[in-house]
Structure formats: structure tokens, C-alpha cells
Symmetry: C2
Subunit: 348 residues, 2 copies
């Protein structure tokens, strides 16, 4: 079809050397004799050779590369999300450039856009005050928000139904008879943290259960923050009988904090997290939690992104996927595992 740029195979033939030798010259490998190098460079100059990826990018405007912005992957949920994104992109024959929003200043997105390094963006850590998503969307580069959405932002978004998942967790505790309930939450920096907080409060409110101000801990995202929350909530004379945390990682920290104080879960206090990371199913935690459908979120998000790359003018959409409650041993009434453990808090 029309003219095509010469390939390294063409170059090798013209220079009378192997493709490997051409590759060595292109990569400045010293293991090429000066004569051979000169011959290859001569052919390069004569043919105006452009390496394939660059040639294709210039010809098609496509780089076959997707830029992914993510928070720290030392968080088990984000590691699982990255793993799934990488798997899906690889299946689609796409490369992934990965940026950590905690390491890379947001301004870099402007440079990335201007340099046309990527065909599209996947943003997994959108927050209200981040200019990252705004810059990505304003650039016109196809962009999808995964996992964390922003209300009213005119771009494709695929998120779990955090509000409903949190509501179900709250209702489950109330229906089990809990009235003195703790909430370990994050500042409402985006829809995700907001909805996991407000959905839970709504369930308690609907049941006429008031949540004491002293039972709410607003904290950071790490294991150590959950651990410190345990100290605050469990050191009282009358601690709450159940605690909900807005992420699994906070729940792991809280469970470890309880362990350090000799407080038993679920005998002394019930615990519910949010994310259903792999670790939640380990005996060390055996955590009742709300499932984030990572697989479905990534699948739907990549479909939307590829549709947008193919047709930039199509209307944007927001998809909300269900987040079911997964009941395990950190709450006592697990029908599958009757343990006979007493739960002192089944009635108010």
C-alpha cells in the first residue's frame, strides 16, 4: 500500500550484513567493526531510515502505548488493579507507560500530551483537587477514569458502586444488632472515599442508628493509619462493637492494632473492610469486606478507551458496577462456618 519506510531487513540486505548487525549499529553496540558500522550508517543515510515504531507513530499518529497513572502499588488493591490493566493491555498488543502520581508531578501530563507519547490515558487515582484528569481531558487525549470517578467530568468513567457497597455493609451490621459502630474513613478527596463513607452512614441513618462523633476516625491510607485507629477506638472503656473501614488496608492495620492490644476479632469487635483484596481471604485476616470487581472494571474501561480512540466524538459514559458484600470470619455470623463463638453484641 503506497510507499513504505525501509525496514531493518531492507537495511541489512543493502549493507550486506545481518539484521542483528544493523540492530547493533542502531543501538550503539561497540561490538561492531568500524568498517561495518560505517557501511550501515551509509545505507541509513541513503535510505532516510526511520526505526519502525517512530515511523509508524509519525505515519499513523498512533504509538500503541497507553499511559497509566496510578498511586503506590505497595497497596494490595492497586497492585491487583495494575496487574489486571497490564494483562489486558498486553492481550490487546498495547504497551503501558506507568506513572506514579505520588512520584511524578501532575504538570508532566502536559508534557506527555504535547509529546504524543501515548494514544490514551488510564487514570486510577482521580481526586477532586487533582488537575491531572482535567489536563488529560482538556488535551483531547482519549482518557478513562477507572476505579475512582469524578462527578460531572466529561470523560468515560468505570467505577464500582461504592455507595451501595458501603450501604450494604452498614445494613449488615445493623441487622446483626450492632448499635455502637465505629467508622474509619478518609477525607472526601474523590467520589470513592466520599461514597464509601456516605453510603455507610446512610444505612445507619435509615435504621435510626446514630454514629457517635467519637466513633469516627478520619485518617491516612496506610496500614499504620489503621493501626493507629485501633488505638483510638479500642482503648476506651466501652469500645464500639463493630468497625467498618473504607479500605482493606486500613482494616488490616486495624486488625493488627487489635491483635497488639489483645482484642479479639470477631469475639470482641466485628470488622468490615472494602476492596476484597487477595489478602482479605488469608487466614491472617479472614476479613469480611465489600468486593471491588477489578476484573470487570478494567475490562469495561479498556473497551471504552479503545472505542474513544477509534471515535473521539462519541458521547462519554459512566459505568457503575456492583460491589457485593463478602462475608468472612471477621464478622461472627458466617453461615458457612458455624463456630459457636459467642457474639456479645447481637442485640443492643
Amino acid at each position: 500500500m503506497g510507499e513504505r519506510p525501509p525496514t531493518s531487513r531492507d537495511l541489512a540486505r543493502l549493507a550486506g550484513v545481518s539484521q542483528a548487525t544493523v540492530s547493533r549499529v542502531l543501538t550503539n553496540n561497540p561490538r561492531v567493526s568500524p568498517d561495518t558500522r560505517a557501511r550501515v550508517l551509509q545505507v541509513l543515510a541513503e535510505t532516510n531510515y526511520t526505526p519502525n515504531a517512530l515511523a509508524r507513530a509519525m505515519k499513523t499518529g498512533r504509538t500503541d502505548t497507553i499511559g497509566v497513572f496510578m498511586t503506590r502499588v505497595t497497596s494490595p488493591f492497586h497492585a491487583a488493579l495494575l496487574d489486571e490493566i497490564g494483562r489486558r493491555l498486553s492481550e490487546a498488543g498495547l504497551h503501558m507507560i506507568l506513572w506514579n502520581i505520588e512520584h511524578d508531578p501532575e504538570e508532566s501530563v502536559a508534557e506527555v500530551v504535547q509529546q504524543r507519547l501515548v494514544d490514551g490515558f488510564i487514570l486510577t487515582s482521580a481526586t477532586y483537587d487533582s488537575r491531572l484528569h482535567a489536563a488529560a481531558v482538556a488535551s483531547g487525549t482519549p482518557t478513562v477514569l477507572l476505579h475512582r470517578g469524578i462527578d460531572g467530568l466529561d470523560c468515560d468513567q468505570v467505577v464500582g458502586d461504592n455507595w451501595q457497597g458501603a450501604y450494604d455493609a452498614g445494613r449488615y451490621l445493623v441487622e446483626a444488632g450492632h448499635r455502637d459502630i465505629g467508622l474509619v474513613t478518609l477525607a472526601h478527596t474523590g467520589n470513592t472515599s466520599r461514597d464509601r463513607d456516605l453510603g455507610f452512614r446512610a444505612a445507619l441513618d435509615d435504621a435510626g442508628v446514630k454514629i457517635k462523633t467519637s466513633n469516627v476516625v478520619t485518617t491516612g491510607v496506610g496500614h499504620a493509619d489503621g493501626h493507629a485507629a485501633a488505638q483510638k477506638l479500642l482503648s476506651r472503656a466501652k469500645p464500639p462493637t463493630a468497625i467498618y473501614t473504607v479500605t482493606d488496608l486500613l482494616a488490616f492495620g486495624l486488625l493488627d492494632g487489635a491483635r497488639a492490644r489483645g482484642v479479639q476479632v470477631p469475639d470482641d469487635v466485628w470488622l468490615i473492610g472494602f476492596d476484597n483484596t487477595d489478602l482479605a481471604s488469608w487466614e491472617a485476616f479472614d476479613l469480611t469486606t465489600v468486593d471491588q470487581p477489578v476484573h470487570a472494571i478494567v475490562e469495561a474501561g479498556l473497551t471504552l478507551l479503545r472505542q474513544r480512540i477509534a471515535d473521539p466524538a462519541r458521547p462519554t459514559t459512566t459505568q457503575l458496577l456492583p460491589c457485593p458484600l463478602v462475608i468472612r470470619g471477621s464478622t461472627a455470623n458466617t453461615p458457612a462456618k458455624p463456630t459457636g463463638k459467642k457474639s456479645r453484641t447481637r442485640t443492643d
Copy 2:
């Protein structure tokens, strides 16, 4: 210096539009009027405009991008390694293309090399039978092996001293009086798994302690594999009094398997892992383990890689960094935390 390609600023000036509008045209954003689009495209054609990154790559032969090959980041150690690599590359102003060796066929490295997508490779998952490192090195692309080395491979390598770390773990158990010792290990697919196995055996051998064949479990890399190893080793009438696993993740699985059987660590059995991941310090595990110096490995590796990019002819080097034993509660004689717990196995 000399001619320079036009920038989007030049284009904007020539077309009489804003830089943002030029960017929108370049990214096929529909929110540009047909007239404006036509004017910008006309200027593009007249100036033979090439977007910056491509222009620079063609001019300098550099992409400012490093290709990283890694295994699944759902393993806590690899997540920490990736996090550190990303932080360091970002500080150096370099982009990272990330490939998962479990998702991406090894053949893709040849394509990546030919397309000159990256200035260098970081390989964190080298194994003897992988052609990935051989292909990377043969291509002449600057390459460094981090964390997993391969004996005799002519490329820069930075690894922990796995053999010595494993030896120290073995000696520690023997000096504490253990004689009936379990080993949960991996097939020797690379230096790392080999040295973590052989170093441990050497320590026992030097002390005249024989390791029973029935006490050795060779398994896979996941939490479930450690869990299954617990079943094998702890279901006997007389289980080993101490177990060493060649990764933390296997130790977490083993600890959870012990928990599931009601076996107490360290009262009934001591446990030592390898990696010193963050999780090892959590109360849930409180794991004695051998420290992998992730920070130092990545720092040394990136220094070597940048030196090689600057001077491809410099001799290759292998750096071996110390892996100290970190003693926690999964072995009983922690001087910092005298618990009075009996250890039934201090003497043979």
C-alpha cells in the same frame, strides 16, 4: 544549535491560534472548528512538523524511556521493587514502560529492541531458561539485571547476597538448638532461588545437621503454595521444630496454614522467611526474615544502567549487596521482646 524542528509554539504562532488548539488538532480532538483545523494542518504540512518526543528520539537516538520487565506485582516484594524503580526513574526524568513477563511473550523483546522504544532495559525476573535476558543483552541495548542474577552473563547485575543471607538464617536456627528443620524451596530456575536454598543447606551442613528429605518441600511461588506446604510439614506426628522458606510470601502462606491447623508460631514451630517485605513487620505475621535491600539494589542498578547508556563499551560488573537477618516474633529468642514463651526445641 543548528537547525531545530519547529515546536508547537512555533506552529501556534504561524497558524494564529493558541498552543492548546494546536494540541487539540494533533490529538484529533473534535472540539476544533473545521476552519481552524485546516489552518493548523496547513502549517503542519508547510513546516514538516514532528511532535517533540519523536523529533528528539530521531535526532538523539534517545527516548528517555526505560523498559522494565517484571513478574506479577501482586507479590508484595515485587510491588515494593516496582515502586522503588518507578520513584527512581521519575527522579531521573525518565519514563517507564512496564512489561509483565507472565503476560508478555519473551519474543516481544526482539520487537521492542528493533523498534527502539527504550534506551535501556531493567530485568527483575531473570531465570536460566528465559531467553529474555539473552535477547536483551545480545541486542546491545543497555541492560541491567536487578534482584535476580545469572552467573556468567555479560551484563551489569545488582543482586542481594542471597547465599549468605540464607546461610545466616540456617546458622541462626542451628545455634538456637534446632535439629529437625524444614525447608520450603523453589526449583533452581535462577541464581536467587538456588542461592537461597544452597546457602541454607550449607549452614546446616557446616553444623553437622542433616536435613531429612521428607522435610524439604519444593513448590510454587504463591501464598497457596506456602499454605499447602504447611499441610505437608505440620500434619505429621512429629513435625519439624523450625521451618525456613525462601520467600516471605511462602512464609505468610505457611503461617496461615499453621493458623488453620491450630499450630502456634513460634511456640510449636519457628518460622523464617526471606525478603523482609513490609507485611513481614505487621502483627499478623511478625516474621523473622532475611532483608533484601530493595532501595540499595535499585539505586546501584540505575547508576550502572545510566553509566552503560553513556558508555556502552565499559566493562560489565556484578554487585552483591548484603542481606542481613531481621529477627522478629516468629522465632522465639527475640532479645527485644522477652515473652517468657516456652520454646520446646532449644536443645536437641
